[in-house]
């Protein structure tokens, strides 16, 4: 049954992703690519490349320090590194503005010692925000690389009397050579379609990404052909990035273990000091924006406009609908793949080759002649968020579905256990943990996501992230921070509840 369900879902997914793209392409038809379009493409590629390089460059020393040092709070810190992935992007941007903005701590400090201020707007700010959001993910991916170094090799190195330098040459560098391309490409692909960061920190002719340009073309210029030709550019860029990244698929970094059988050598002396400084700086960099949001937001909570609560409700509904859709579809695809339908895997990754605004543009073009876009803002948001979250859910479920099939596939078949009975008695109980985790992740992503809704919504159908970005646009920063706290509570609360459910099963 899973193979048939998987095939059906794959067909639906293909229709959902390819039909809007096809509509976009037809619409783009005759129009060529203009100079601003090319500038947007260039900026998109440059910022994504710089973001990937900077994130990984920061992640290497951090992952190395975490891999070889043991200190109280290390386990908590590694778990916390998963948090920025769940953090709504708009909240992260708000926090970074509070720390690195004109009036922020950072610039006050610079002024204090007589240095020129730095601006968080433009390329630098976009890259900074992407590093904040993706460096933890890169760190966890690299940490897995360090943890995957076989204990035998560490023991061999010790028996040969390797110093830290030899260790680097013969053990760490080869490992990084294998792991780095995957991490770089993953972050590059994520940053290509970044919207909320660029919406706030970018803009203007010199700092507009394709994704942002699509939004402007629809919202301000109502130039649908331009939006369509930009969407084609975006599909080409993403498709190529995802295709290349597929060649370097590596560990996802979500579920990195904490401990290994054998500790890596922890050299003393100045290296110890450097590792400590790296960890301290990373904690400061990651925690400061969060603390700033908290500090500003608590007073803001008291003065929240009533519209925030209806926006929060809308976001909750989006999350509660989109997460089960994404996870259910991903489960069917993962089970079908585990039962031998190899072609389902690239299908599950298909949404990565598009972007929220590309899909949104296509759906906008399809819907616009028939219905006023704001009226379908929420259904479209649910659909597009579910589609975009699906690859993440698939990545989490696929390995577990494969071992479920390897361990119990024959037994289930020999007992004629299939269909709903298999779902109830075998699949959900055995996959409860990854299902809970995937549900939580998708719910948090859906609740915190600011993308396609920005294309459709006006006054109706506003989600909480959109409401926050509008408060920021109106410079009502205290209220924005208060609403951001509500959003963080919503996203993390949903994640926590789902993940708890996943851990609630019986141990075997």
């Amino acid at each position: 049954m899973a193979r048939r369900a998987g095939a059906l879902i794959a067909a639906g997914l293909a229709a959902l992703t390819l039909v809007p793209v096809a509509v976009v392409m037809m619409q783009a038809g005759g129009r060529g690519v203009s100079a601003p379009d090319l500038a947007a493409l260039r900026f998109t590629l440059v910022q994504a490349a710089l973001s990937a390089l900077a994130s990984v460059a920061c992640a290497v020393p951090l992952a190395r320090a975490l891999a070889r040092r043991r200190f109280p709070g290390r386990a908590v810190l590694i778990v916390m590194l998963g948090a920025p992935f769940l953090l709504p992007v708009i909240v992260a941007v708000l926090g970074l503005l509070a720390v690195f903005g004109r009036a922020g701590v950072f610039n006050s400090a610079l002024r204090g010692i007589g240095l020129p201020e730095v601006s968080i707007f433009g390329l630098g700010g976009v890259v900074l925000a992407h590093v904040f959001l993706n460096m933890p993910l890169a760190t966890r991916m690299l940490l897995q690389g360090w943890q995957a170094i076989p204990a035998e090799r560490v023991r061999l190195a010790e028996s040969l009397g390797f110093g830290p330098r030899d260790h680097w040459c013969h053990i760490e560098r080869p490992m990084l050579r294998a792991v780095l391309p995957g991490a770089l490409l993953a972050i590059f692909a994520i940053c290509l379609t970044s919207f909320a960061v660029v919406l706030v920190l970018g803009g203007g002719p010199s700092a507009t990404t394709v994704e942002l340009a699509i939004w402007q073309a629809i919202r301000f210029e109502f130039d649908l052909p331009r939006a369509a030709s930009l969407a084609v550019l975006q599909v080409l860029a993403c498709g190529m990035a995802v295709g290349v990244a597929g060649l370097f698929t590596s560990a996802s970094g979500f579920g990195a273990g904490l401990d290994r059988a054998m500790d890596l050598p922890a050299p003393g002396g100045w290296r110890r000091g450097v590792d400590a400084a790296v960890i301290a700086m990373a904690v400061l960099f990651l925690a400061a924006p969060m603390l700033a949001v908290l500090q500003r937001g608590v007073p803001g909570l008291l003065s929240l406009p009533a519209s925030i609560w209806s926006a929060a409700l809308a976001s909750l509904i989006v999350a509660l609908l989109a997460a089960p859709m994404a996870v259910g579809a991903a489960l069917a695809l993962a089970l079908g793949r585990a039962q031998g339908s190899r072609w389902l895997e690239p299908m599950a990754m298909l949404p990565m080759a598009g972007s929220q605004l590309v899909l949104g543009t296509g759906l906008f073009l399809i819907a616009f002649p028939f219905i006023a876009p704001p009226r379908i803002a929420l259904p479209i948001t649910v659909l597009v968020t579910a589609v975009m979250a699906l690859p993440f859910a698939y990545r989490i479920l696929a390995p577990q579905a494969r071992s479920l099939q390897a361990d119990y596939g024959r037994l289930a078949a020999s007992l004629d256990l299939r269909g709903w009975a298999a779902l109830r008695l075998l699949i959900i109980p055995r996959l409860r943990r990854p299902l809970g985790f995937a549900l939580g992740l998708c719910a948090a992503l859906a609740a915190g996501d600011l993308g396609v809704v920005a294309l459709f919504a006006t006054e109706d159908g506003v989600t909480l992230p959109l409401a926050i970005s509008r408060l920021m646009g109106a410079y009502r920063m205290t209220q924005a921070a208060g609403a951001a706290l509500v959003l963080v509570a919503l996203a993390f609360g949903l994640f926590w509840i789902c993940d708890r459910w996943g851990h609630g099963g019986t141990a075997d």
Partner: protein
Amino acid sequence: MVELRIEGLRITQDDFTLVADWALAAGGRVAVIGPSGAGKSTLLNAIAGFFPLTGGRILWDGTRIDTLPAGQRPLSILFQDQNLFPHLTVAQNLGIGLDPALRRVDWQAVDRVLDRVGLTGLGGRRPAQLSGGQQSRAALARALLRARPILLLDEPFAALGPALKSEMLDLVAELAGGALVLMVTHDPNDARHFASQTVLVADGRAEEPQETGDLFAHPPPALAAYLGATYPT
């Protein structure tokens, strides 16, 4: 006469081939012996529906069964491991053999069969709370409960010590009743102890079943090579 007929069977995977063409009468006790990698498990898995045939047919009582899904064939199979779902109780693991949805299960029948295999009162436990021998008994109990006319044993007791293993074989012999039992083994003593007939699998063929005593008294070259020169005949 009711029989399991293997007709012109051919299994191929990469450069591995196995052919067989013979029949076994209902209710028999048959050992399947041969060197490792010769295809003993593959033969059982093909009969059970986990390995596609490249040629031939499998019939039970004159009806073709190789076209049926695994769970609908008139047989039960015990694998080398993973015979129980770890998240279900022992009783549920048995009941799932009667109704995969666990809705229409005669729980008294489950208790009775647990009594018969010596697991009285352990139905509420999970497999991890049982010893290895008890887990084997639970798996066997489910096969008994399903009461299919063919029972395939793909070395399910291999992980048990010698004493427990022969205890389990005695239990199978005692409880299997009218079922045709095919048992993979690499131990000639198991074959002689348990099976009146033996199928030798070697050199890409599953040979016609022979009287176990005769076969070991006059081993063909392939079996002699497998048993080794010092094997006491």
